[in-house]
């Protein structure tokens, strides 16, 4: 005697399997949607901007005449910003991570700082802009100079660096530092000579990723009042400046007045994306080349 009616089962299964197959294609399509938009975006930017990139554009001064406009000032401004963001975030980020991972007693204060850092990571970047405007530009009276912009961006990406450094330090195996203690080294000697060198690739990777976040940020800079049309190049930390994303912002806004500005914006976007691509490649290179697995 047969307990299962094959035909009935077949009938019910077929529709369920079919549904599964169809929905699977739908899921695939959804996944590809993001990638298609990415491709359209890149193609759009490249077809609009690539023709405008030449030596004059890269090294020239800013100009209202589209054919003569160059972005050297913005490139220099962004470089000056990096010059502040890298040391400041590395120093504070690594210091905080060492404290949280190696020195702080597990308790209320430590978890308070940790919660605080994860909350800071969720604050919108424009609020950091207001903080920078109030403290660095107005209260400390720096004005809208490289220093104010750099410090504001540093505070913005600090949580990223701290978390990356914490993870890198946590990944250093216990037995390395125990060996160091066994040789009679003090705690700081162990941290300085054993833990930090072992954690360095991870710290650098995280710090570069934070840096690439910082140089793409526009919102805080607009709040600080970074100028639109700036002809002289910045030559020091207390000079006014403009940066690549600000240049893109103004050219995009003004593209409704002068059509060529849209192409200039696209060309500047290419420069910015190439810069970000290089930074990320360096980060991946460091991660693959120097990161040791214990």
């Amino acid at each position: 005697m047969k307990y299962i009616d094959d035909i009935k089962v077949q009938k019910r299964m077929n529709s369920r399997v079919l549904k599964n197959d169809i929905v699977k294609q739908l899921f695939l399509a959804a996944t590809l949607f993001g990638l298609v938009v990415l491709a359209v975006l890149l193609i759009r930017v490249i077809t609009e901007g690539a023709a405008w990139i030449d030596w004059n554009f890269l090294t020239g001064k800013l100009s209202t005449a589209a054919e003569r406009a160059g972005i050297m000032g913005a490139i220099l401004g962004t470089s000056w910003l990096m010059l502040i963001v890298v040391p400041v975030t590395l120093f504070i980020g690594v210091g905080t991570a060492i404290y949280l991972e190696l020195y702080a007693k597990k308790g209320k204060f430590q978890s308070f700082i940790a919660t605080n850092i994860s909350n800071l990571a969720g604050v919108p970047s424009i609020v950091y802009g207001l903080l920078g405007l109030t403290i660095f530009v107005r209260a400390m009276d720096f004005g809208n100079v490289v220093m104010a912009g750099g410090l504001t961006l540093s505070l913005l990406v600090l949580p990223i660096v701290i978390v990356a450094a914490q993870e890198a330090i946590r990944a250093v195996p216990q037995h390395l530092s125990e060996a160091s203690y066994g040789m009679g080294a003090t705690k700081w000697q162990t941290v300085k000579n054993i833990v930090l060198p072992a954690a360095l690739p991870g710290i650098l990777t995280g710090s570069i990723l934070a840096l690439s976040r910082a140089i793409g940020e526009t919102a805080p800079l607009t709040v600080l009042g970074i100028p639109a049309l700036l002809i002289p190049f910045p030559e020091g930390l207390f000079d006014t400046f403009t940066a690549l994303p600000m240049q893109i912002y103004y050219w995009t806004l003004d593209s409704s007045l002068v059509e060529e500005y849209a192409y200039l914006a696209a060309a500047t976007i290419i420069v910015l994306l190439v810069l970000l691509f290089l930074l990320n490649s360096i980060a991946i290179f460091i991660r693959n080349k120097f990161q040791q697995r214990y």
Partner: protein
Amino acid sequence: MNKKNAVNVREMIAEKKKKRNFSNLTEKMIPTILIIIASISILTTVGIIYTLLAESIEFFRRVPIWEFFTGTVLKPLSQTPEFGVLPLIMGTVISSIIAMLVAGPIGLMSAIYLSEYASDKVRRTIKPLLEILAGIPTIVYGFFAFTFVTPLIRSVFPEVGATNILSPGIVMGVMIIPMIASLSEDAMNSVPNAMREGALALGATKLETTFRVVIPAALSGIISSFVLGISRAIGETMIVTIASGSSKNFTFDITQSMQTMTAYIVEVSGGDAPAGSTIYYSLYAVALTLFVFTLIMNLLARYISRRFREEY
């Protein structure tokens, strides 16, 4: 020779002691220095809250607080200025809803595909590509919304304005897709395989397993990824600033220009606000509102993922 050695040893001991004292001093100093460094992040929080509160209080001295939160008219620059924040909240909420209508379903479907259907090889190709999408600066998305998506929408629906809230909303959604996809996928990946195998052994298809077993088990992570996505959309600035214009309309019409809280801050701080004026202080009141919105979302996300996590 011997004599010389003896002297040396004594000197060495003295030297060592000196060094020991010095390194003892460093040992004692280091924790203090580190605490000072670590408290910079606390100072940042205090700084943010203090500046927002202090300047907002000054603002609320000039504009009554209930007028600010119930006013539907925002005319900061007119002869008789009115400071109602509702148009900005409307702009923020509507752009976030549009963004989540795009990012929610597509992000979740991507997560399901990557976690349940894709082979390891496919996953390892697609995930980094999606991460590129997350790494593109928002100003680039703003450019894309303004010069590509808006004209595209207008070519189909000519009645849509040159600046409107629809186009930046959609683009913002695309920007948030990778975030939701990656967080939801993490949540679904942490559902143990034994549960999937149980369902499959009972004769369920992959689709049924996904919706009846995996998603319910990973729900807390998925919802908290949505909430973080909303928080991200609320705080997003450049896309809406560029593509949605600066009309402070209080409307549900998504084809019109609307201003978000973030875009208002950019517009006002970008020039026409002399320090000490009521407009200047309104910046901080709006920023405080924005800060509270995103803080609530972030805390909610953490609460959901902690409180409702299913442990296996």
